[in-house]
Symmetry: C2
Subunit: 349 residues, 2 copies
C-alpha cells in the first residue's frame, strides 16, 4: 500500500503526477506515451512520480480521446448451452486469451442467437468504441459479415475461410489437405465404403471437408456417403444409424467433430458393432474426449490453443495498423492414428 494521492480518496490522475514532478500534464502524457520532446531527466522524474503515486491510466478517458479500447471481441452465434460441449471452442478461447493477455488486451465474449444478432452486436461495439477489433468464426458461403465489418470500420480477423483473399484477413488451416490425408489413411487400410457424418453445409469449412473427402474418394476409389448434421450429438447419432442402415454399410465412418464421433461410437456399441473390428471410426477434430474414448479415436490433430494464439496475434497486428497478409496460414492438421481405425473387415489387407 504505497499508494498515496494528492487529493485523498481519489485515484491519482496525470494532473497529480504533473504536480508532483513539477511539470505540466502534457509533459506527463508525452512521457507516458514515449513521445519525443521530453528530456531523459524529466521523463525519469515523471515515471518516478507515476510509480510513487501508483498511477494507472483510466481506460475510459483514454478511449474518449479516440484511442484504443484495448479489447478484442468475440461474438459467437450458437446456442449458448452447446459451447460448453465443444472442446474446440474452449481451446480456441483459451489460446486467444493467452496471447491477448500478454499485451494486456482483454477479450470480450458474447454469445448470441443468430447472425443477425451478431451483426447488431458488431454495430453496437463499433458505435460504442467498445472493442478495437473482432474475431469472426464459422464463415458461411456468401457470408455478409466480412463486408459489413469493413463498412462499419471494425477491424476483423476470420478464422477459417477457404484460403482465398477476402475483404478481411483470415487465419486459415488447410482442411482440404487434412481430409485428404485421412482419406488416404482409410484407403490404405482397404476401406471402400466410407461414411461421413458432416457438419452444417452452409459453413465454408464443412463444405470444404465434404469436397475434399469426395475428391480424394474418387481418386482413391472410395465410395463416400456424406450425411450433413448440425453438429449436435443427436443428429450425429441419427446420421450414424442412417449410414448403418444403408445397403452398402460403410466399413469406416469419418466424423467432422469429436463430439459427433463419440456419439457415433456409442451408437455403434449399441448396435453391437466393434470398433475397429466391424467399423473403423475417425474424428476430424482431435481432443481430450477423443483420446479418452474406447478405443481412443484416430483423429486429425491440430493445436487449437495455438490456433487461438495465432488468431489473437493477427488481430493485434491488424488493430495496430500493421500490415497483415490476406491469408495467414495455420498449421495443417496432422493425422494421429489410434486404435479406432483398422483394416477393412474380411478384406484382403
Amino acid at each position: 500500500m504505497t499508494q498515496a494521492s494528492e487529493r485523498p480518496g481519489r485515484r491519482p490522475t496525470i494532473a497529480d503526477i504533473a504536480a508532483r514532478a513539477g511539470v505540466s500534464p502534457t509533459a506527463v502524457s508525452f512521457a507516458l506515451n514515449d513521445r519525443p520532446g521530453i528530456s531523459e531527466q524529466t521523463r525519469a522524474r515523471i515515471l518516478a512520480a507515476v510509480a510513487e503515486l501508483g498511477w494507472r491510466p483510466n481506460v475510459a478517458a483514454r478511449a474518449l480521446g479516440g484511442r484504443r479500447a484495448d479489447t478484442v471481441g468475440l461474438v459467437v452465434a450458437r446456442p449458448a448451452r452447446t459451447l460448453g460441449v465443444e472442446p474446440f471452442f474452449a481451446q480456441l478461447v483459451s489460446g486467444l486469451q493467452a496471447r491477448l493477455s500478454t499485451d494486456l488486451v482483454a477479450l470480450q465474449l458474447l454469445v448470441v442467437e443468430d447472425m443477425s444478432a451478431e451483426l447488431d452486436v458488431y454495430r453496437r461495439w463499433a458505435a460504442e468504441r467498445r472493442t478495437d477489433g473482432v474475431v469472426v468464426l464459422d464463415l458461411e458461403q456468401d457470408d455478409p459479415r466480412p463486408e459489413e465489418l469493413v463498412r462499419m470500420g471494425l477491424p476483423a480477423v476470420l478464422v477459417g475461410g477457404d484460403g482465398t483473399p477476402g475483404p478481411v484477413p483470415a487465419v486459415f488451416a488447410d482442411d482440404h489437405a487434412a481430409m485428404t490425408a485421412l482419406a488416404e489413411h482409410l484407403a490404405a487400410l482397404g476401406h471402400v465404403q466410407v461414411g461421413h457424418v458432416g457438419g452444417i453445409p452452409a459453413y465454408v469449412h464443412s463444405a470444404r471437408r465434404v469436397a475434399a473427402l469426395h475428391d480424394a474418394g474418387s481418386r482413391l476409389g472410395l465410395h463416400v456417403t456424406t450425411v450433413p448434421t448440425d453438429f449436435s450429438q443427436d443428429e450425429a447419432a441419427a446420421a450414424t444409424r442412417a449410414l448403418l442402415a444403408r445397403d452398402e454399410r460403410p466399413t469406416a465412418i469419418v466424423y467432422d467433430s469429436d463430439v459427433a464421433a463419440l456419439a457415433g461410437v456409442t451408437v455403434l456399441a449399441e448396435a453391437g458393432l466393434s470398433v475397429p473390428g466391424d467399423v473403423s471410426v475417425a474424428s476430424f477434430d482431435d481432443s481430450e474426449l477423443v483420446r479418452l474414448a474406447h478405443p481412443p479415436l484416430t483423429a486429425m490433430t491440430r493445436d487449437t490453443f495455438e490456433l487461438g494464439e495465432l488468431v489473437a496475434a493477427t488481430t493485434l497486428s491488424l488493430v495496430r495498423g500493421e500490415r497483415v497478409p490476406d491469408v495467414v496460414g495455420a498449421p495443417t492438421p496432422e493425422l494421429t492414428v489410434r486404435g479406432s481405425t483398422g483394416p477393412v473387415p474380411g478384406g484382403a489387407a
Copy 2:
C-alpha cells in the same frame, strides 16, 4: 443504412441529437436517462431524433463521467490449456454470458498463472475502472482475495465457498449434501471399500467434498480412501492405479470431476476390470463427457449453465447497488444413476 450524421463521417453525438430536436444536450441526456424535468412531448421528439440518427452511447464517455463500465470480469488462475478440457468451466462461462448479455453487460475473460497475478489484474481493473465487478472462482482456505477485493472497492461474487457469510457475497451449492447422497447410493448397493479421487485439497469445495464423503462413510459404515489430485487426467489415472493397488481394493470409486472419471474408466479398462461388474464408478460432476462414456457414468447432476446465470444475476444486482444476500443458494446437485454403478460384486445384495 438510415444513419445520417450532421457532421458527415462522424458518429452522431448527443449534440447532434440536441440540434436536431431543437433542445440542449442536457435535455437529451436527461431524456435518455429517464430523469424528470423533461416533458413527454420533448422526450418523444428527442427519442425520435436518436432513432433517426442511429445514435449510440459512447461507453468511454459514459464511463468517464464516473458511470458503470457495463462489464463484468472473470479471472481464472489455471493453466490456460486446461480450460478447454473442463466442461464445467465452459458451461459456467456460457451461463454467465447468457445472463449478462440480456443486460448488455459484457464479460471480460482473463486467464493468468497464479493467484498473485490474479490479484494484480483485479488491482489494474479497479484502477482503470475497466469492470464494474468480478466473479471469483476456486476459493481456497484462507483465501486472500475476498478481503483484497473489498479493500480495492471492486464488487465481487464468489462461486462456491463453504456456505458461511464472508466479506463478499457467495453463490453456494451444497456439495456436502450432494456428496452425502452419493455415499448413500453406494452404501445402498452394498459397497464398503470406496475409493475417492479428489481434487486440490486447498480448494474449499474439494475439502468439503472429502469431509462429506468421510462423514457419510463413518455413518454408513464405508471405508473411504481419498487420494488428492490436481484435477489433471494424469494424476487421476495415477490415483486410480494407486487405489487398485491397495490391499483392500475399492469396489467403487468416486471421482471429483468428469474428466478425472473418464481417465479413471480408461485405467480400469486397461486393468481388465469391468464397470460396474468389478468396480462401480461415479463422477461428482456430470457433463456430456460422462454421458458419452461406456457405460454412461452415474454422476451428481447440476445445471452449470444455470449456475452461471445465477452468478451473473447476483453480480449484476451487486454492481447496481441492490441488496444481495451474503450467501445465495444454488440448487444442490442431484444424483443421476446411470450404468456405471451397480451392486458390490459377490455381495449379498
